[in-house]
């Protein structure tokens, strides 16, 4: 049986943790946030960007990590709705498959702010704050052409259910389509995960005797590809591109020649802009349906101008 002491101790814990939600600060707003996972430092920086704004106003952010599982992400959002949060931030794992959760939120009149990965059913969400993902792919392609010319065997590591990744890949492809000599010899999904990219790349290495370029949808995927190439002694001479501008990627660019370049995003900025938009919506103000955050290519030539140890 639980003692009185138990209730006293737990009550104190909850009162402290919940920042006196019920009695002390009745106007405190509570937000929900769910991204692809919290393994990827990009999403951690995005989460922190939102949290910083939310907590500066004395409000609360509850994060839910679906661990790359769409059904978990849907039930996480439904759980936010049942908790009656004020608004929900979502980076959808599947830009079409997320629809049922968005409908639930819409029905409950809870605004959804899409961050990083756009969704198909834009009418179900209040706004979308994301990087210019198409341009990230274009920048990588243009840099590649500058370095290697217009003849190369290219591997694309994609994530065909995440719109942010789709746009990057399509932007890259649109640029290389202009040159017949640039051939995509393999295009496979790695779910944007470092470990998974390594195993996918291992298979591609077995099947492809000549690879000149790897275009990865994000930095963890680029590193997974590098791990597989290095482990198979095939890395030398291959250009590898990532997207994110993560500290690990920038460190790799600075210290060696393994990663050619990364199209840098600004997750903290996406997070803070998303949070600002949420407050505007809750205050009855109008916000743009699409808020695009520019990207920038980082390579050895300009790495010294960037902060290597953090997302920018």
């Amino acid at each position: 049986m639980l003692s009185k002491k138990l209730f006293v101790v737990l009550l104190v814990i909850v009162l402290v943790f919940s920042c006196l939600t019920v009695y002390g600060a009745p106007k405190q707003k509570v937000f929900g946030a769910t991204f692809h996972n919290l393994n990827n430092p990009f999403f951690v920086a995005l989460n922190d960007g939102i949290k910083k704004v939310v907590e500066s106003k004395g409000d609360k952010l509850i994060s839910f990590d679906p661990q790359q599982d769409l059904s978990r992400q849907i039930s996480g959002i439904e759980d936010f709705v049942s908790q009656k949060v004020d608004a929900i931030f979502v980076a959808a794992l599947d830009w079409k498959g997320i629809k049922p959760a968005l409908e639930t939120a819409k029905k409950a009149k809870i605004p959804v702010i899409i961050v990083d990965a756009p969704v198909f059913d834009v009418n179900l969400v209040a706004t979308t704050v994301a990087s210019d993902n198409w341009n990230a792919g274009v920048l990588c392609a243009q840099d590649m052409i500058k370095r290697i010319g217009t003849k190369a065997n290219i591997v694309i590591l994609a994530h065909p259910t995440a719109k942010s990744a789709i746009d990057r890949t399509e932007g890259f492809k649109a640029e290389i389509k202009k040159y017949a000599g640039l051939k995509v010899v393999a295009e496979q999904s790695s779910n944007g995960q470092l470990d998974q990219a390594m195993t996918v790349m291992e298979d591609i290495i077995q099947a492809q005797p000549k690879i000149d370029v790897v275009m990865a949808l994000n930095d963890p995927t680029a590193m997974g590809a590098i791990a597989a190439l290095e482990s198979a002694n095939r890395l030398k001479g291959i250009l590898v591109y990532g997207v994110d501008g993560s500290p690990d990627a920038k460190k790799m660019i600075k210290e060696g020649n393994k990663l050619t370049a990364t199209a840098s995003q600004f997750p903290s900025k996406i997070g803070s802009m998303g949070a600002d938009a949420a407050y505007q919506i809750l205050n009855g103000k109008k916000v743009a349906k699409n808020i695009k955050v520019p990207v920038e290519l980082i390579d050895k030539s300009n790495i010294s101008k960037h902060k290597v140890d953090q997302f920018e």
């Binding site: 049986m1 639980l2 003692s3 002491k5 138990l6 209730f7 101790v9 737990l10 009550l11 814990i13 909850v14 943790f17 919940s18 769910t34 996972n37 919290l38 393994n39 990827n40 509850i62 994060s63 839910f64 990590d65 679906p66 661990q67 790359q68 599982d69 978990r72 996480g76 995960q193 470092l194 470990d195 998974q196 990219a197 390594m198 590193m223 997974g224 590098i226 791990a227 597989a228 290095e230 482990s231 690990d248 790799m252 210290e255 393994k258």
Partner: protein, 459 residues
């Protein structure tokens, strides 16, 4: 039913013919009892069918317990739950996950206050003492003792101890991780120093640290160091000393072994008092030794994470150096799971807890999906564990002798679990930091600290 009435009348006629009226009476009684039992069983069966399977709520956080990115960490529970439900068709698991580790304590505390905590849940190290002391964790002693299919001796003794509170078992470990010493092999090779052997001592450690601490670029500032993060607790535990008695009623900070440990640490720190090395210095290859969790070794020794950390130099892990009275091991960290004391289904909850922590097939997945070490000796020392450990290391080499690993686990210290432990250690940490860095008498300062902590423990 009609068939049984026919059968009864048939057998009665038969008995009348052959045995007479007494045996008929006995038959009537036996038949009635059997029929009654069968009806009761049928009702029970129908009730079971209508009420459906027992639902056990299982709570866990999202992500790695060891704070290392691990994209397939969730597979451990997903696979275990699927297999458990197949083997136990009468039990359904409701899996509650998704809360990041940093928010998990708060999430669980809220559930507990509402009386909605999961039947089985993961217990973070910082919560164990509180949960056990306030009675939210079920005492597992009877469940373990009455289960003939469970033999606690299969689990590393120190791992078992990490789930004990006041001498009783309140949680079982799913996986453990000892502390090892990371060695920058490139730095030692440059200084022409051999990698220390497994049973090395504080003297060996100090000698090497002194030799490598130097200004390598001639700018007048020390830029190469012996060690970073070798803390006072490491010194105390490698000198074979506990800081409290098992029930947390008495502090032992004034013992000669603690005095010796703190004196050693002050001497070690004086080698590099200005500037002090940082973890970044180790990452950049400028420090010879750094204590680390074995999970970090597992993650960063192999691809793909070896690309991200410590890629600029060769490194290996060895045992920690031992003091005059101790062993080459420090503290043991455990990932624990417990049962709510308020569960309505203790038997089913125990089956799940046992499955996660004691089933060999599931425990093999610790090596596959996590960066910890299985708590089952037989699994950790198996060939399958070798295969998983060597999967992505260059040359498929298993560089850790698992007998040594088992030895380190068993020689590690499990700190006593009691309610005031964390607060007492916080007080001690501040004071001992002062003792190491200021020129004050260590022995008398420790005596004073011991009195203060004893007073606090008695309050």
């Amino acid at each position: 039913m009609i068939n049984s009435i026919y059968m009864k009348s048939y057998i009665t006629t038969l008995l009348k013919k052959r045995c007479g009226s007494l045996k008929i009476k006995v038959f009537h009684t036996a038949f009635s009892i059997t029929t009654l039992v069968m009806i009761m069983l049928a009702i029970f069966y129908l009730h079971q069918l209508n009420s459906g399977p027992v639902v056990i709520k299982f709570g866990d956080f999202a992500g790695s317990y060891w704070d290392i990115p691990n994209w397939q960490g969730y597979k451990f529970n997903d696979e275990a739950i699927a297999k458990f439900e197949t083997l136990h068709p009468g039990i359904k698991i409701k899996y509650l996950t998704g809360t990041p580790k940093n928010d998990y304590s708060e999430w669980l505390a809220k559930k507990i206050v509402k009386g909605q905590e999961p039947d089985v849940f993961c217990v973070l190290a910082g919560d164990f003492n509180t949960f056990a002391s306030i009675g939210i964790l079920k005492n597992l002693d009877d469940l373990m003792e009455n289960d003939s299919a469970f033999n606690i001796d299969q689990i590393y003794i120190k791992a078992v101890k990490s789930g004990q509170f006041n001498g009783s078992q309140y949680a079982l470990p799913r996986e453990v991780v000892p502390i090892m010493m990371f060695v920058n092999k490139s730095l030692l090779a440059k200084e022409k120093i051999d990698i220390p052997k497994g049973d090395w001592t504080w003297d060996d450690f100090y000698r090497i640290c002194r030799k490598v601490t130097k200004d390598t670029d001639g700018d007048g500032e020390i830029d190469q160091f012996g060690t970073v993060d070798f803390g006072w607790q490491h010194a105390v535990y490698t000198n074979g000393q506990q800081l409290f008695d098992i029930n947390g009623t008495r502090a032992m900070f004034e013992t000669p072994r603690v005095v010796e440990a703190i004196q050693f640490l002050r001497k070690l720190n004086q080698l590099n008092s200005n500037p002090k090395p940082t973890a970044d210095d180790f990452d950049n290859g400028k420090v010879a030794f750094r204590p680390f969790l074995f999970s970090a070794y597992r993650a960063y020794k192999s691809y793909p994470y070896r690309l991200i950390r410590y890629a600029q130099f060769e490194w290996e892990c060895i045992k920690l150096p031992r003091g005059t009275h101790g062993k080459n091991a420090s503290e043991l960290f455990s990932f624990m799971i417990g049962i709510s004391s308020r569960t309505s289904h203790p038997r089913e909850a125990w089956e799940l807890l046992k499955f996660l922590t004691y089933n060999k097939m599931i425990q093999k997945n610790v090596f596959k999906y996590s960066y910890g070490v299985s708590v089952l000796r037989q699994v950790t020392e198996s060939k399958e564990a070798d295969l998983e450990l060597s999967k992505y290391t260059p040359d498929k080499e298993v560089s850790v002798d698992k007998k040594v690993l088992g030895q380190v686990i068993e020689e590690s210290t499990v700190t006593p679990r009691f309610h005031k432990y964390d607060q007492a250690m916080e007080v001690a940490d501040k004071e001992i930091f002062r003792m190491i860095n200021d020129d004050i008498d260590i022995e008398s300062s420790l005596q004073k600290l011991n009195r203060e902590i004893n007073k606090f423990l008695k309050q």
